[in-house]
């Protein structure tokens, strides 16, 4: 609404009301008094109308009036006195000042003036214009209360001088007189004649105004005519929007009064429907809002707020695109407030906000309207917020933020409200906008932007807490993203470090180690990070490094955590937490040792293993680390150092389970470092503690063998062979035969071992080339021994017994030789043949050399000798046959010593064939030297 115009209209009313009552009463006859409504429509009056015709003199009006007043008083000439009086009146009218004669003086003056007029008229010799004289006389009559006479003079003027320039005014005054006399139809006619005739425009306008009043005064039947007259007046004075901004000063009172009358008529008719009907029949006008407003005001002033609001609503409905429509809606708010109905006032605000909340609609509002819209929105938002109607409050804050410069605070509030309403997504959206996208007043960042950003983070953290396990990772990612924006924007926020530490922990818990590490890192770089946050972060870092196998970095992290918790024990969540950290630290070091050992970096591995004890002295892991240090040394073939470590370990931890393994490792180290005797000694010592000592002893025996310590070895062999069970596997058989072989070689209990060797080999289902050879040689040796015994048996009387013994020995030797050949085959075949042949040869020789019984005579002795020869001959043949077979083996097996011995025997037995002497040649040195 054009409030400025409305104010000007109202101001005009006020000014009119301020005119002193005395002055009005004195001039009642020649003024129309408007602006003061009576108790009934009949009491209503038009506004006061002034007539202005002549310009004022240049000097002070008061001074001019004083001179004319003096002239009137001193002159005796009727013309002069009348003229002075006319001038005086003109000056007072034009200047608007209360100058000249007082009211009391004026009646007396006009009484005197009338006498002058009558005198002039009676003389008939008036030198001036008679129309003016009649006009002045009418005026004088009016001023002296002689209204009928006054009108009579004016009628004379109109009738006698219809072309006089004073006629329009005379007509107007005549009509006014009719109006004042309640002759409204006559007045209507008079005013209409004035309007329709040629003449004074100013008077025509006033006549139209009074025409409307004349019609209005005629009652409801004439109200539509009256309304039409007033609207025509308004069309005339306010033809365009421009005139609304700068309405004509001269007609301001009439315009205002026209609206008033129109409002009164509509109020008594059908209100907005009446206005719609009037205006609907007309071409579009510039002032309809002023009329609606006047009507609404009328109802409001009279306490009919519902009707007033109805008028406002009607205008907004009929003219939704009118620039004043928002003002009407806003006016409704005011009316309801005036009515004390806060609920309806709030609804009116809501209606206002709703109608113009869209961006295009809002942009169409003027600045004050926009400000009002914001006030209403904020009011409504706050109201609903206080009423805990969170969704409504959030809605108002959100929409207000869209049309406000101070969006940050509003969106922050909207976020709070959304959160209270349980709408986390919208709350998040608002918080984020408040924190990162919104502005405070002017172009500055919203002062509490960090709080808004933090609120968003809290929302996400709450969501995370309530998330199912499967969804947690997604929420965590969102929270991380939020943190990144928060951290980027509010780099100095003291809560940032705590958030990052928390995120590091959460990422670790879901197994996202890269993210956990990244957050741990980003926490630690913050100078503001608190000790407990650093502690938590180092713990996460350590665990991640542990998972990823970065044990060096894990150690560093544990150390940092330990440093913190040692300095501030309250950091620990449980009393044994520092101890647990130490154990983890020790494990990290241990793992480094393991890794270094695996990669062959022994020195580093040992160093790591040995460091463990400094962290957790004499704990299980420390003990194991020491043990593994020894293992690393073993692996690196640093034998002596390993031996020293192992021995110390056994000394330090005699009861530890690992100590049981020390002995075996020492054996290994001794063996590898070529200290077999020490290795054997370690085994023998271990065997004393072992439930099954023989495996250890046998290994010791092997080591003694390797070291050439044959007595110790042989003793173990003897002991073992004495108790060893029958072999139940080839290896056992070979092992035992090997021991026997070595004992035989060492000359320890040889015969018994040889016999055992032969017996075991014959009985065994398992054989090796070696065992067969060894058994063969053992059998040969036994056979040779028996053969020696056989050869030693002298064939003495009684020959039968001696021969029997000898034959038995020979059979036994033969059996050994044949057994030897059955074991060792070709390897011993030459020797077997030789020895077997020698048995026969020996027996034959012994037979031939046997003692001839002394009781025989010569002949008997000869016969006896022949008999012996007969017995010996086949034996010798057999011997030759065997030696010859042996000699024949040269072709297939080559020459060997036993063939050579057979050949020597053959040379003796059959010299004609086998006894050959190679012949040396000698050099003829002299001959050669001479040649």
């Amino acid at each position: 609404m054009n409030r400025q115009f409305m104010r000007r209209l109202s101001l005009a009313v006020i000014l009119i009301s301020a005119v002193p009552g005395g002055s009005v009463a004195a001039q009642e006859s020649f003024r129309v008094e408007l602006g003061r409504d009576g108790e009934t429509l009949g009491d209503m009056r038009p506004v006061f109308l002034k007539f202005e015709s002549r310009p004022l003199p240049a000097i002070s009006p008061k001074e001019v009036a004083r001179r004319y007043q003096k002239l009137f008083e001193k002159s005796d000439e009727p013309e002069v006195r009348i003229d002075a009086l006319n001038r005086l009146n003109n000056i007072r009218d034009r200047s608007g000042q209360d100058i000249g004669f007082s009211d009391e003086q004026q009646s007396a003056v006009y009484e005197e003036a009338l006498a002058s007029y009558e005198s002039i008229l009676a003389r008939g010799s008036f030198s001036g214009k008679l129309d003016e004289l009649l006009y002045q006389m009418a005026k004088a009559h009016a001023l002296t209360g002689q209204h009928e006479e006054s009108i009579q003079r004016l009628r004379q003027l109109v009738g006698l001088y219809p072309r006089s320039s004073l006629v329009p005014e005379a007509r107007f005054r005549i009509a006014e007189a009719a109006y004042n006399a309640g002759e409204y139809q006559e007045a209507e006619t008079g005013y209409r004649q004035l309007i329709e005739g040629d003449g004074h425009q100013d008077l025509a306008m006033k006549a139209r105004y009074m025409l409307g009043w004349s019609q209005f005064k005629q009652g409801p039947a004439a109200w539509n005519r009256s309304a039409e007259t007033f609207m025509a007046l308004l069309d005339q004075h306010l033809p365009s929007e421009a005139t609304l901004l700068d309405p004509p000063h001269t007609g301001l009172d009439m315009i205002e009064d026209s609206f008033r009358v129109l409002a009164l008529i509509a109020a008594r008719a059908d209100n907005s429907a009446t206005l719609a009907a009037w205006l609907g029949n007309r071409a579009p006008v510039a002032w309809p809002h002023l009329l609606y407003d006047r009507l609404a005001d009328l109802h409001a002033l009279e306490g009919r707020f519902d009707l007033a609001v109805g008028i406002n609503q009607a205008f907004a409905g009929n003219y939704p695109e009118h620039s004043a429509a928002p003002d009407f809606l806003a006016q409704s708010v005011d009316y309801w407030r005036m009515a004390g109905d806060t609920s309806k006032a709030r609804e009116a605000r809501a209606d206002y906000v709703a109608r113009y909340q869209s961006q295009p609609k809002f942009q169409e509002l003027r600045g004050q309207q926009q400000a009002l819209w914001r006030d209403y929105s904020r009011f409504l938002g706050d109201y609903h917020y206080a009423a805990q109607d969170w969704t409504s409050a959030a809605g108002y804050y959100e929409v207000l933020a869209g049309h406000s410069g101070d969006t940050g605070k509003l969106l922050h509030l909207a976020g709070d409200a959304r959160l209270q309403a349980g709408n986390r997504n919208k709350a998040l959206e608002n918080y984020r906008s408040a924190a990162y996208g919104a502005r405070g007043g002017g172009q500055q960042r919203y002062p509490d932007a960090a709080e808004a950003g933090w609120a968003a983070i809290k929302v996400l953290k709450s969501t995370l807490e309530e998330s199912a396990a499967g969804a947690a990772r997604g929420v965590l990612a969102e929270l991380s993203s939020e943190e990144q924006q928060f951290g980027k924007t509010f780099t100095q926020d003291p809560r940032l470090s705590g958030l990052r530490a928390d995120l590091a922990n959460r990422w670790y818990e879901v197994g996202a180690y890269d993210e956990a590490l990244a957050y741990a890192r980003s926490t630690l770089v913050l100078e503001s990070a608190k000790t407990e946050e650093r502690y938590a972060t180092w713990l996460v870092t350590a665990r991640v490094r542990q998972r990823t196998g970065e044990f060096g970095l894990e150690e560093r992290a544990w150390r940092q955590a330990l440093l913190l918790v040692d300095s501030e024990p309250d950091l620990a969540t449980t009393p044994d937490e520092p101890e647990q950290i130490r154990e983890q630290l020790a494990t990290a070091i241990y793992r480094q040792g393991e890794r270094a050992a695996a990669s062959g970096d022994t020195a580093v591995a040992v160093a790591h293993f040995q460091r463990v004890n400094s962290v957790v002295p004499n704990t299980e892991i420390a003990i194991r680390a020491r043990f593994d240090a020894s293992n690393a040394l073993l692996k690196a073939s640093e034998w002596q150092t390993a031996i020293n470590e192992l021995n110390r370990f056994r000394l330090d931890y005699p009861a530890h389970e690992l100590t049981e393994e020390v002995s075996e490792k020492l054996v290994y180290a001794y063996h590898e470092s070529r200290q077999p005797l020490k290795a054997a000694g370690e085994l023998m010592a271990a065997s004393e503690r072992a439930q099954e000592p023989w495996p250890l002893k046998l290994r010791a025996a092997a080591l003694y063998h390797q070291a050439g310590e044959l007595p110790e070895r042989n003793a173990l062999y003897m002991d073992w062979l004495a108790v060893a069970p029958d072999p139940d596997a080839a290896a056992d058989h070979v092992q035992q035969q090997t021991m026997r072989h070595r004992l035989i070689e060492s000359g320890v209990d040889s015969v018994r071992q040889q016999k055992a060797m032969v017996t075991r080999e014959a009985a065994s289902q398992w054989h090796s080339e070696e065992t067969l050879l060894w058994a063969g040689k053992a059998a040969l040796a036994l056979g040779a021994s028996v053969a020696q015994e056989f050869a030693a048996i002298r064939l003495e009387h009684p020959l039968e017994r001696a021969l029997e013994r000898k034959q038995k020995a020979m059979e036994q030797a033969q059996a050994y030789f044949l057994e030897a050949e059955s074991f060792a085959g070709e390897t011993v075949a030459s020797e077997v043949l030789y020895r077997r042949a020698e048995l026969y040869r020996t027996l034959a020789a012994d037979l031939m050399a046997s003692e001839v019984p002394s009781e025989l005579n010569e002949l008997e002795a000869m016969q006896y000798q022949m008999l012996l020869e007969e017995e010996a001959w086949p034996l010798e043949e057999r011997a030759m046959e065997l030696h010859s077979r042996n000699h024949g083996r040269i072709a297939s097996q080559g020459f060997d010593e036993w063939i050579g011995q057979s050949l020597e025997a053959l040379a003796v037995m059959h010299p004609g064939r086998y006894d050959r002497e190679l012949r040396w040649m000698s050099w003829n040195m002299e001959e050669n030297e001479g040649a």
Partner: protein
């Protein structure tokens, strides 16, 4: 000829002969002729022969063998050295080497009866090559003026065994 060149060339011949000797196999196989005919150096051969004798007398059998081998290489026609070297080889049970050497000696000195005799004995007893033994006993017998009854008996025995 320059003396240095002479020694170098001789050393080459010795090594070639030694290789040939070592490679010879089979009792009936004739020794291969050297691709390069040996250059006879009786003087040097004699020196080596004497060294061998000295070594033998000192019980240095390997030294004697080595010296005599060198001597034979320098002078394969030295039947004495060939014979005695063969006997040393026989002592070492190197019967095949001994026989081969004797066969070389027989070829170089076919009229030396002792070479045939020793070759026959080694062939008979240690190589069981009775045919070769019979041939060389007979050759020995043919080369000797005096009747050797023992050898005659052996020939008779061989002939009987080979029938």
């Amino acid at each position: 000829m320059h003396r240095g060149f002479h020694y170098a060339q001789r050393a080459l011949i010795i090594s070639v002969l030694a290789g040939l000797t070592a490679c010879a196999t089979g009792p009936g196989k004739a020794p291969e002729r050297a691709a390069v005919q040996p250059v006879h150096s009786p003087e040097q051969a004699r020196e080596w022969a004497i060294k061998g004798v000295n070594a033998h007398e000192n019980g240095d059998i390997p030294g004697a063998i080595k010296a005599w081998q060198t001597s034979v290489a320098l002078d394969p026609s030295d039947a004495t050295t060939v014979n005695n070297l063969a006997l040393l080889l026989k002592q070492q049970n190197r019967f095949r080497d001994a026989a081969n050497l004797l066969e070389q000696g027989v070829e170089a000195a076919p009229d030396v009866a002792q070479l045939h005799y020793n070759l026959a004995v080694i062939s008979e007893l240690y190589l069981l090559d009775l045919d070769k033994a019979l041939v060389h006993y007979q050759r020995y017998r043919a080369l000797t003026a005096e009747e050797d009854k023992l050898v005659a008996g052996w020939i008779a025995d061989l002939e009987r065994r080979l029938q």
